[in-house]
Amino acid sequence: MELDRRIFLGGMGTLLIPTAFLPASPAFAVELDGTLTIGMSTESSSMDPHWHIQTANSSVSQHIFDRIVHLDKNQIEVPGLAESWQSIDSNTWEFTLRDGATFHNGDPVTVEDLIFSYERASNVPGAIFNLRAYLGDKRFEKVGDRTLRVITEHANPIVPRELATTAIISKRIGETALPEDYNSGEACIGSGPYKFVDYVPGQVIELERNEEYWGELPDWSRVVIRPIPTGGSRVAALQSGDVNVIDTVPPSDVEHLENDSEIDLGRGTANRMIFLFFDHGRDVSPYATAKDGSEIPNPFKSRLVRDAFDLAIDKKAIAARILSGNGAPAEQLVPAGIFGHNPDIPLRNADTAKAKAMLEEAGYPDGFKVTLHGPNDRFIRDSSVMQAAAQMLARIGIDIEVDAMPANIFYKRASSGGEGGVPEFSFFLVGYGAATGEVSAALRNLIHTYDASTGFGSNNRGRYSNPEIDLLIEEGMATLDDVRREEIYKTCCAMTVEDVAVVPLYYPISVWGMQSDIAFEGRSDERTLAMDFNAAG
């Protein structure tokens, strides 16, 4: 992002010269039932919908493939291929398929196709970011022509959400298809609102509307998706009318696009949180030392120290100044609107004096020394965010060094770089987001005590452990009653914040840019879908 900003700032400076005497390029109006061209920041790595489930791939696959249940722009479940569903008992769910849904080749969508899709999605060789995490605990049974029964190992209230991750493919085609058949389009046959036309890796994806779609028909008869990785180029492509819509508008361009009457911006707070994690696990943490470098007991074991850190960091300033509005200050694990968000948790104002007093009370009147590690190419302006946080902590007397490194080095060290294969860092910046749109995934994977055998705490790189919260999380995960479950999760969130397990920094805000004659409401799952954009007027 750093490079992008410089490119563009440099660019805009000189743009002033030609603007003075050149006519602006004509606007390209979009029309209903015409073509929508989308410029995306990340290229899709495969057309196989069960390959890596990254945002770019999921965005593309959702045009072509339906799910049993869909998640709307706020990640609320809405009917997909199933018109209704209910839990029969604590371990069993039943889904009733809609009539009239067909694949692009005319075959009707059947229960067998669903079962086949779930099986394949768990077993694509070489798929690293796969769907096992969502499908592993389930068995599927056909109980009628239109009825699918899902049996889970333990009570699982979020079966519909978990199944919403998995694209439904045709059994007849999928059984014999090779991985390359998806990229060639031969096997890329779903039941979604768009059909595959063409795919050239890194260059273009072309889709045409499925006129036989069971749901509401989208506004565009043809969709062209082009990867444009450089932020400045993406903005230029939008301004020149080469594309109608772009995702991930760079922070540095937000302001001048807001002043452009031909461009509108759309926003959505992502269900993802960027936060600072402490080493809770070890008695001596390698990167936390006395100021002279001598060994001290792990200071992050003290709640007061953690609280002082949280209080010292001005999240509002980071969101407003460093992220230029591309992030909303965070106070808990998930933003408002996500199931389990606790509205009673306040966003505290930073208070340096109070934080310093807390640090003194905790027995560190002179502070201590710690290194803040993090990636420098993963999140929006990640290294600047770390620098800012470090300066704020320096004000309460912490001697802090920032070590930002490429993500490909960072993640290995953060997960298993320490002695004996444990997480290496003492204090580090990471992010977490789950496709299921509930706080439970964050609680289960980040906050619950790490346990290799059950899979709890799989992303708990700080090795945070609080038996009380663990019990509540497990209770919530087995509670089918939505009202009761939400109460439990809200309590879990409150306890997590009270105990300062992590320092939440911000929720990224996805910013889309589009021509002003296109209407769009934003999404919370960072996906860019042609179906969400409408021709205005």
Partner: protein, 326 residues
């Protein structure tokens, strides 16, 4: 000539071999793609299963041996990211890079040689001074900045050319080429010009220096004295002798455009190999990185060979066989 080619091929194989070892050791030190790409909800058991599935839990020399065995079957492995054979992923992007490199080189020679010749023949004319001064801009302005300027001027402001991407393609020899269509050419022009700017300046300066060096030499004066037309002296006697360093540089630059035109490819969203290699390094996609570097080594060796052959055509005194060299 044949022996010399054989020797080159031997060198290439040796370099490729060393390179694969370096890449294997290097990648092993950095990390693994599993930690980078795995679902944030995956269990530790699942992580172990994946690491085992990729054979990343094996000792590095076992992994390397497996790679060599695959290589013997002409199998460079399957990309971790694209789920396709590494070689195919690279070759898919090869035409895009190739046509960009050819176009850029063509433009740079087209601009650089005539201007350099003019500046060399009339060193004191104001036009020559202007050419020389502008050439400084050509190699001092950073590529990414010039690229953005091109886009802002020609696409956003004037609306003459598309801002990024690759245009319509036609299939020739089973590969997708865009330079054969008008739409494709219009997409190709800006990135090619952007890449050509630096090279044109370089060629221009080389040509001018060469001309200045050759002009006062005896054979040129003799040619004039023989009564040959000025045109023939310039185009045959002068230009041909000036071309040797130019050909070397064009060859090397051509190779580097193919291998490392990352910045331009990224800014113009050009789906070439340069962008692919950077993405692959970021994602630790080892099969792609290894295959790519092997291809590049082969490419450079080939280009150098072609350049050497061209030398002998341009200057019969140049010999590269063993007896001539030592």
């Amino acid at each position: 000539m044949f022996a010399s080619i054989l020797q080159r091929v031997g060198q290439a194989v040796f370099v490729m071999f060393c390179m694969t070892i370096v890449v294997f050791i290097g990648m092993n030190l950095i990390g693994n793609p599993i930690d980078l790409l795995i679902s944030p909800n995956a269990t530790p058991v699942e992580r172990q299963r994946l690491i085992a599935e990729f054979g990343l839990d094996q000792a590095i020399w076992v992994q390397y041996w497996r790679f060599l065995v695959g290589l013997a079957h002409l199998d460079l492995g399957v990309s971790y990211i694209f789920n396709e054979p590494a070689l195919r992923v690279i070759l898919q992007r090869f035409p895009a890079t190739m046509e960009l490199a050819l176009m850029a080189t063509f433009l740079s020679v087209l601009i650089g040689v005539p201007l350099g010749l003019y500046a060399g023949l009339r060193p004191y004319s104001p036009v020559s001074r202007l050419i020389m001064t502008s050439s400084i801009l050509g190699f001092s302005l950073p590529t990414f900045w010039v690229g953005m300027m091109f886009i802002l001027l020609f696409s956003v402001q004037l609306g003459w050319l598309p801002s990024s991407g690759r245009g319509e393609t036609v299939t020739v020899f089973g590969m997708q080429w865009s330079f054969l269509t008008l739409d494709g050419l219009s997409h190709l022009l800006l990135p090619a010009l952007n890449l050509a700017l630096f090279k044109a300046s370089l060629i221009l300066r080389l040509t001018r220096a060469g001309v200045a060096e050759v002009l006062p030499q005896d054979y040129v004066r003799l040619a004039h004295a023989k009564g040959l037309s000025a045109r023939r002296v310039v185009y045959v006697h002068v230009l041909k002798n000036v071309m040797i360093p130019v050909v070397t540089v064009v060859g090397l630059e051509f190779g580097s455009v193919i291998a490392f035109s990352v910045v331009t490819e990224t800014i113009f969203a050009w789906p070439g190999m340069g962008k692919l290699i950077i993405d692959s390094i970021n994602n630790l996609d080892r099969p792609i990185i290894v295959a790519y570097l092997m291809i590049i080594v082969l490419l450079f060796v080939t280009i150098n060979l072609v350049v050497d052959i061209l030398y002998t055509v341009l200057d019969p005194r140049v010999q590269f066989s063993k007896t001539g060299k030592r």
